[in-house]
Amino acid sequence: MSVPILKVRDLGVTFRTGDRTTIASTEVNFELAAGEVLAVVGESGSGKSVSALALTRLLPPSPSCEINGSIKLNGRELVGLTEGQLSKVRGREIAYIFQEPGTSLNPVYTIGFQIGEAIELHRPEISDRRAAVLAALRDVHIDDPARVADSYPHELSGGMQQRAMIAMALACDPKILVADEPTTALDVTIQQEIMDLLARLRRERGMSIILITHNFGIVANFADHVQVMRKGRIVEHGPTAQVMGDPQHEYTKGLIACIPRLGQRRHRLTTLKDELKVS
C-alpha cells in the first residue's frame, strides 16, 4: 500500500476524575494509508472509541483527560495543537460517525438544519443547500428525505438517526472517516447499502476509513487490515484474511469462536470463559 497519511505512535489516553485514574488506552500504534480501511475490533470498554476520539481531541480538556504520544496527519503533529487548529482538522480532514447518535445530534434543531450546517461549513461552494441535504439523505437510503429533513432527532427511529449522522459526516467530504459502529441500528439490507456506499466513496475519493465494529461479517467483507483491542491495548494487528483466518493471540481466537452464526442454533451462546482461559 502507498505512503501512510496517518501515523500514530504510542498513543495513550488517561482520564482523571477526582482521585480516580482510568487508563483508557495505552501504547496504541498504527498507520493508515490513503484509501485504506482499518477495522478495529475488541472488547467492550477496551479503548476503541476513546483512541479514535483522541485523534482530534474530541475528549474532555486537560487535566481531566491526558493524551500522550504522537499523531501525525500527513507529517503534521496533531498532539499539542490548539483547539482552534484542531477544529480545522475536524470535519474536512477527519470526520466522525459517532457510536451513539444521541451524543452528537442536537435535539433542538431539525435534521435538515444540522446536515445543512455541515454542508455550509465544509462545502460553501454548494448553492442549493436544501437539495444537497435531500440528496445526502437519499444517499444513505432514507426513502422519505423531505419528512426526515424536517424532523427533530427524537422523531426518528434509531436507524434513521444513525443514517442522518452518516450523511452529516459524509457531507464534510473527509480524507479520513472514523466510523464508530456505524450500522448497529440498521437492518442487514440497509447495512449492506451503507457499507456499499462507504466502499464507493473510498474507491472514488480515496477516503480512508477507521471502522470500529463488533460485526465480524462487516470486517471480513470490507477491511484491509484489522486491529484487535483488549484492556486498552492492541493485542493483534494484521491483514484481515490473516487475523480472521489464522489468529495468533488467544483473545482473538476466543473472540472469533464466540461469533453466533445463523442456522447453527445452540443451547447456549459461547463466551470467552467457555472458550479458553484468558485472563
Binding site: T184, C258, G263, R265
Partner: protein, 266 residues
C-alpha cells in the same frame, strides 16, 4: 384469570399515528403511520423476537406497550386486562412488572446521577423495605451480571463506553424483577463474548424466574438463538410471523428473503 393458555401480553389492532407537521412553505405533511393495525401475542415465559426494516415501527410498538408512545387505537392486554387505556397514575402499578431496555442508552440514563443512584432509584420505589447496604449489594450484583465491575457504581454515565452504558440499561431493567422486558436492541453495542454473556444471563433468568421477553434486534443469528417466535415488520405492519425455523428457514415474504440474503457471509 391466569389460565395457562392466556398469553402474558396480547396486542390487538395497535396503531400509532403521528400527526404531520406544517413545514416550510406551510405545507401540511401527511400523518406518519408509525404502527398500523398490528396484532400479536407474547406467551408467558417465552421470547418473541422482532426484526424488520429500520423505521418500520419496532421501537414504537415497544414504547406503546408502556405508554411512551401515544396509542391511536387498539388494545394492550396484559394478563387479559387492558392496560393501554389506563390513565397514567393507574398504569404506575404495572410499570414494575413491565420494563424496557431502550435502544438509545445515552438518552435514557440520567446524566446527573451516578450508577449507584441510577440502579437504586427503582429499588427504592419498588422495594422500600431494603436497607441501604442491601440495596448497594443488589446494585453490585446487577452490575456483575452484565460483566461490569462494582467499582463503576460511583461513576457517571458519560464516563463509560457505549457498550458499558448499554449494559447499565440492562442492569436497570432487571433491578425490579419484572415479568416482561421489552428489549430494544439490547446487545447491539457489545462484543460477541460480552453479548453472549448477557444473552445467557437473560436466558438463565427466563429459565429461573419465568421472565418473558419481547426482543427487538437486527442480528439474525442472535434473534434465531433467543426467539420462540419471530415477528417481521415492514412499514408499520407485521408482514410475516412464525417459528424461527419457518421465518429463517423458509421465509414467504420478499422482504424477509432480502433480509436473509443480506447477512454478510464469511
Amino acid at each position: 384469570m391466569n389460565s395457562p393458555a392466556q398469553p402474558l401480553l396480547e396486542v390487538r389492532d395497535l396503531s400509532v399515528h403521528y400527526p404531520g407537521r406544517t413545514t416550510w412553505l406551510f405545507r401540511k405533511g401527511a400523518p406518519k403511520k408509525a404502527v398500523d393495525q398490528i396484532s400479536f401475542t407474547v406467551p408467558r415465559g417465552k421470547t418473541v423476537g422482532v426484526v424488520g426494516e429500520s423505521g418500520s415501527g419496532k421501537s414504537t410498538t415497544g414504547k406503546a406497550i408502556i405508554k411512551l408512545a401515544p396509542l391511536t387505537s387498539g388494545l394492550i392486554l396484559y394478563k387479559g386486562q387492558d392496560i393501554g387505556g389506563l390513565p397514567n397514575h393507574a398504569f404506575k402499578l404495572w410499570r414494575k412488572k413491565i420494563q424496557m431496555i431502550f435502544q438509545d442508552p445515552y438518552n435514557s440514563l440520567n446524566p446527573r446521577a451516578d450508577i449507584l443512584g441510577i440502579l437504586s432509584e427503582p429499588l427504592e420505589i419498588h422495594f422500600p423495605e431494603l436497607s441501604e447496604a442491601d440495596r448497594k449489594d443488589r446494585c453490585a450484583e446487577l452490575l456483575a451480571g452484565v460483566q461490569l465491575s462494582p467499582d463503576f457504581l460511583t461513576r457517571y454515565p458519560h464516563e463509560f463506553s457505549g457498550g458499558q452504558r448499554q449494559r447499565i440499561g440492562i442492569a436497570r431493567a432487571l433491578a425490579v424483577q419484572p415479568e416482561l422486558i421489552i428489549c430494544d436492541e439490547p446487545v447491539s453495542a457489545l462484543d460477541v463474548s460480552v453479548q453472549a454473556e448477557v444473552v445467557n444471563l437473560l436466558q438463565d433468568l427466563q429459565a429461573k424466574l419465568g421472565l418473558t421477553y419481547l426482543f427487538i434486534g437486527h442480528d439474525l443469528a442472535v434473534i434465531e438463538h433467543v426467539s420462540d417466535h419471530i415477528l417481521v415488520m415492514s412499514q408499520g405492519q407485521i408482514v410475516e410471523q412464525g417459528s424461527p425455523a419457518e421465518i429463517l428457514g423458509s421465509p414467504r415474504e420478499a422482504y424477509t428473503r432480502r433480509l436473509l440474503a443480506a447477512v454478510p457471509k464469511f
